[in-house]
Amino acid sequence: MKAAVLSFPGSNCDADLLWAIRDICGEEAEMVAANHTDLSGFDLVLVPGGFSYGDYLRSGAIAKFAPVMTALKAFADAGGYVIGICNGFQILTEAGLLPGALQWNQSLQFICEPEPLVVANNQTAFSTAYRADQTITLPIAHGEGNYYADPATLAALEANGQVVFRYAHNPNGSLNDIAGVTNARGNVLGMMPHPERAVEALLGGTDGLGVFQSLIHATKGATTVAAN
């Protein structure tokens, strides 16, 4: 399994994602700069957190025009697995790869806390390593993580089981407590919490490992992963 970690000017979780895939999971991973135009040969693309292009205009609004995004859209259209975390989630919604949008937290505060989440759907490529309704704790660190979608879109997300993670105690005002959603096809996930910051005990927990383990199994064509 070979993963690409995209890196935009202002990304700051790219090295953490490389660490999670290479050093913790023992799989291949490469950093791919935003001006690259080729993602061939990769099984998985990770879009990291940070403040791409300074979050000018809106979070992710400039990143969506980066050269690598054309390749990313083609990769996703072909069914490739894509995960966007935090700013990566914001970029994927801006680029139209995921429904909805991320708005300022209701409190207007940047929140940096461990946050309990409920696994709302463990039948996705991103969540098979978790039990149904399992509660996990992942760090969040964002000012604009308040998920918004119009009522029709929200209803469709719920009906299709696209909500993968929900906040147990909604910290930011997200509609339906949504912390992570997939596209309709189920090969693109965006989530505000940081699984890559919870992959070893030294970091305070390992609840994020399941996201990477699920993806690694999905890319290798496995159908089931043992619950951890």
């Binding site: 205009l57 809106r58 609004a61 025009f65 919604t93 801006e94 429904p99 909805g100 949008a101 708005q103 300022w104 937290n105 209701q106 409190s107 207007l108 308040n146 918004y148 979608a149 119009d150 005002g173």
Partner: protein, 84 residues
């Protein structure tokens, strides 16, 4: 040359926490008759185009593609001829 003045703001269905804070604070200052606050972004673009209609079409595209996130924001603009 044409000058486009563009306003982008949240749709009415989106609760804007910044606008709510401003409204609450105005109330604290005694401006209790302020019924609503709308916060938005303002852009000025100067562009060359063959006609006002062509400039408007281009500005519309620019708003859709970049200046507004139409999932949560709406926009309006005025385009007027200016001397270069």
């Amino acid at each position: 040359m044409f000058k486009a003045t563009i306003y982008v703001n949240y749709k009415p269905s989106v609760l804007d926490p910044k606008a709510e804070v401003i409204k609450k604070t105005l109330g604290r200052l005694g401006q209790t008759n302020v019924a609503s606050v709308l916060v938005g972004k303002y852009f000025e673009l100067t562009l060359s185009a063959d006609s006002k209609e062509a400039a408007e079409q281009q500005v519309d595209r620019i708003c859709d593609e970049m200046l507004a996130n139409v999932n949560m924001e709406s926009y309006r603009y005025d385009v007027a001829a200016v001397t270069a």
